[in-house]
């Protein structure tokens, strides 16, 4: 049984890694950049969807967790510079730093989640927004974190292969969670919190867990982003970024992993190709949101997945198979 488990879990990652590694050499710089950003946005959207879509809580501070992860990773790599000379050593430090960023972001998620998940709806939204702003203000006033200019001169360690694998991990976590008893517990909280509690679901515990997982993945996305841009500034983690991610999942359909994945990819690529009109970015978002809310308020897929819409796959899924 054991080797099978390893295969089930590692194969998708390896496959993505190898595939992207093969492709990335032949990509023009511009498209390389667009795909990196798209991958990072996929991580953000799919992870935020665990909180906002599965669990039905409304968090709009995702960029705050990104910042925590990014600054942790940046600080670790910068402070160990000169200690490691080989390329392989540098890669190892980088991966360790990303992991550390995930941990600190998860801790931040826990600290914010514990007290504020007693709140619902608008109140929770305001608290998470506040957290996002607090993080930004702390960074801008901290000498240690480089204030408004941030930390520059980071080595370019993020590759498309890393981003691809991180996105694959995120999607795998979300999909497998969704199809497990834990995922159903989260959905139950979204559907009816009182009934979920009465049916034996520890609602507070599960909300905190969802928050922690989403925060850790956001931290990972933050780390990957700054080591691609080679620059870690508070400007990358304003609440506008948080809103952008929320817009992606609302458009994709709250609760739909494939919806979040698709809109994150499509919107990123669309907006990058429209770079000439970058001032109108938010206008495009707002218009898209308005049109969707009028025409299809549940988002692209609603709570369904793309494989629910394809009859052949659906039968396979109903037969008890995992994708």
């Amino acid at each position: 049984m054991k080797p099978l488990i390893a295969l089930r879990s590692v194969a998708p990652l390896l496959l993505t890694g190898i595939l992207v590694a093969l492709v990335q050499g032949s990509l023009p710089d511009y498209w390389y950049f667009v795909l990196v950003v798209a991958g990072i946005n996929i991580i953000l959207a799919v992870s935020l969807n665990i909180v906002n879509g599965f669990t039905g809580q409304f968090s709009i501070g995702h960029a705050g967790f990104m910042a925590v992860g990014a600054y942790t990773a940046a600080k670790i790599v910068m402070s160990t510079r000169g200690l490691v000379s080989t390329g392989a050593g540098e890669q190892l430090v980088f991966l360790g730093a990303l992991a550390a960023g995930m941990v600190t972001a998860a801790i931040a998620g826990f600290l914010v989640g514990m007290p504020s998940l007693r709140l619902r709806g608008d109140y929770l939204a305001i608290v998470t927004l506040g957290f996002n702003e607090i993080i930004r203000v702390i960074i801008e006033n901290s000498e240690f974190l480089g204030q408004a200019t941030g930390i520059s001169g980071l080595p370019k360690l993020t590759t498309l292969a890393y981003v691809g694998m991180a996105a694959a991990i995120t999607v795998m976590v979300a999909v497998r969670l969704l199809q497990s008893t834990h995922g159903r517990a989260l959905l139950a909280i979204r559907e009816d919190e009182v009934a979920a509690e009465a049916m034996g679901v520890d609602t507070t515990g599960y909300k905190v867990r969802a928050f922690v997982i989403a925060a850790a993945l956001a931290g990972l996305a933050g780390g990957l982003l700054v080591f691609y841009l080679q620059l870690c500034t508070p400007k990358s983690f304003t609440f506008i970024k948080s809103i952008e991610v929320v817009a992606m999942i609302v458009l994709g359909g709250l609760g739909s992993v494939s919806g979040a994945f698709l809109t994150a990819a499509v919107l990123t690529i669309l907006l990058e190709t429209l770079r000439g009109f970058s001032e109108y970015r938010m206008v495009v978002y707002s218009l898209l949101l308005i049109f969707f809310m009028l025409g299809r308020p549940a988002g692209l897929f609603g709570t369904r997945e793309i494989w629910d819409l394809l009859p052949r796959w659906r039968r396979k899924a109903a037969a008890g198979g995992a994708p």
Binding site: I5, S9, V173, L177, E191, D192, A196, M199, D202
Partner: protein, 270 residues
Amino acid sequence: MSAPVLEARKVTMQFGGLKALSEFELVIEPRELVGLIGPNGAGKTTAFNAITGVYPPSSGDVILSGERVNGQRPHQICGKGIARTFQNIRLFKQLSAIDNVRIACHQRAQAGFAAAVLRSGGFLADEERITRRAEEFLQVMGLAHRRDEQARNLPYGEQRRLEIARALATGPKLLCLDEPAAGMNASEKVSLMELVRKIRDDFGLAILIIEHDMRVVMGISERLVVLDHGVTIAKGSPEVVRKDPKVIEAYLGDSYLEEKHIAVPVGGGK
């Protein structure tokens, strides 16, 4: 005889100046079918909420199989063996019937988050067990053909039954049904009560059933407790309770009694 499944001792619920329930006493033995009746606003659902932990009682004790549980959260109390349904159906509307029941089996799962993400053998076995168990309960409640249907698309009567299936799947020692027959016509009510009795016999559990239509529970309850304005006004077998003037008064008002020339005892002796 073994310890009672549930013991409520002087349970009082106070909301500000309103005493929704005062010194509520109730003992339920294993396999007993007890009816909790009373007119609208009598405090029946409040009594339920106090027992199941939705609101912690202001004073008094709730004892479950010998263990004091007041102050515990509903999911903890559920884990100790009380399951309930809701007066206004609270299903997970957008989820399929099977998922509704599978969520109730959640506490039986041993595999953690990591096992779920890694799809370990233990996790898959867990899921398999949960699914089989859920399917069994759908079968028992005659909902097997609705397995993959969204809960909100089921007809009303089936939604009520799905809620009972979901409650049963938590594996309770005591099942609390909050007006399960609400909104049903007379013949549906009769068949539902048959089903309730059958569940008691087949699963060997105790059932506490709230109903405000007295006739419905008269037939199946071994014992009745009558509440009015939060106060227990009568207890005992259906025959005794039916004739209790205080019960008749609570249900039909003084005017009815005067009309029928039944004397209302002053001071309220039982």
